[in-house]
Symmetry: C2
Subunit: 230 residues, 2 copies
DNA sequence: AACCTGTCAAGAGCACTGCTCTCGAATTGG
DNA sequence: CCAATTCGAGAGCAGTGCTCTTGACAGGTT
């Protein structure tokens, strides 16, 4: 099957090339990139693209999926590179990695976390990769609880219905995780997403030159809220 | 000028009708609504639309601007309806109003706070209306400080560069507003945006049936962070 | 070496888009 | 009443996603 694998290899290279060019177009055209333009850049007929991707949405889905994986990898790698016991530094590393990836790949970030493409429905394959970044951050909180470095907030803070909802999720993530703590971890993730989005989508005030420091401080606020020891 | 005003009135009605139909299409097609489809719904030729809006982007800009105003009005009205001295309740009212407006007008919210439309650049007219919702919330914090109900966080929390940046902004908003307090108010606004976006863009998914309560709790967390008295 | 068979690129074509221009028709102000 | 302005409709251009057909090529088999 060596001969067949040659053909398969050429095909794989072609797919990679299409994705690379499409990613480049993504940076300028966003979600409405043109298949024909990609084909033009590759010097091929637009119809030839359909040999490799059944539709434009399918190409987009592939890019989205790979972007989720890339972001997840970046956050996880940053977390892994820090002393496991230094929870606060792990939190900072994970959040900073997410922001750095977003700033380096703004179009892909917009594709993941911007407004959903109208006709487009995310297939099920994307939900698991999409959960990885937040789960990595929640994992830091979980470790802190397990290590006794973190005292959970009073459960009375949580209204009963939310406590029940979150208790189910918490149990599936990590046995013994208090709902109130999970709520604060989710708040941290929400804040991270908001911070990056505001910065990337240009809705941040003009007079904020020291964005890195601002980001760090806002992230520190959430670390305090979660209870990560200084 | 009565005769002229007849034509002007018809024209104004026509513009309103176009905007209304466009808003309806926005709900299904998002940012890539079709001028031709709008024209079809109105029973007119597509070229006729150009008598009223110079381009599709211009129509979108009008919708965006009016959406900002609507959201700003909703938040302000909710804030105004609450006893001025009950800061926490004002915070809740403002945040809930923003969420309610977003849930009622998801497409418009996506247009305002989703990923920016690729080729589209927001004109200057939009920045002032865009600032109204966050400024209303910051105003609550300012009032709390002025009334002495709110003790500002220690300035040492803020790294020097951020303190300087925020001090400039704070001074332009309200004299005497501490930078550290402004930072927390901005964190609250960021969190609000993140919460609404996650809920609206479907990234919260299953396992959280009591969304209202969840939202309230997350907002309460930020109220605590800001220091709004219970 | 000759012969199928599956794969591929290309072209034509359909329905759609934003936008421009022109041409009559209607309305308005003088 | 007439000239000037405004308006709607139609044709047309360049672009889009996508489908279908046609012809060329390489793979493995006989």
């Amino acid at each position: 099957m060596v001969a067949n694998s040659l053909r398969a290899r050429v095909r794989a290279e072609m797919i990679d090339e299409i994705k690379a060019v499409a990613r480049r177009h993504l940076a300028t055209d966003g979600a409405n990139l043109s298949l024909r333009a990609v084909a033009r850049d590759l010097g091929m007929a637009s119809s030839a693209i359909y040999r490799y991707f059944p539709s434009r949405d399918d190409l987009l889905t592939t890019l989205i999926l790979e972007a989720y994986v890339a972001l997840g990898d970046a956050v996880e790698a940053a977390d892994d590179a820090v002393d496991r016991d230094d929870l606060r530094e792990r939190w900072f590393a994970g959040c900073r990695a997410a922001r750095a990836w977003a700033l380096a790949n703004p179009a892909e970030y917009a594709l993941l976390y911007g407004s959903p493409v109208p006709g487009y429905a995310a297939p099920d394959d994307t939900v698991e990769p999409a959960m990885r970044p937040p789960l990595t951050l929640i994992g830091i909180v979980r470790d802190g609880l397990a290590a006794g470095q973190l005292t959970p907030p009073p459960a009375a803070d949580l209204p009963q219905p939310v406590r029940d909802d979150l208790a189910d999720i918490a149990a599936s993530l990590s046995p013994g995780m208090p709902a109130a703590l999970l709520a604060r971890g989710m708040a941290g993730w929400t804040q991270l997403f908001g911070l990056i989005s505001f910065e990337l989508f240009g809705r941040i005030k003009g007079g904020l030159p020291h964005r890195d420091d601002y980001f760090d401080h806002q992230i520190a606020l959430m670390a305090d809220l979660i209870g990560l020891p200084r």
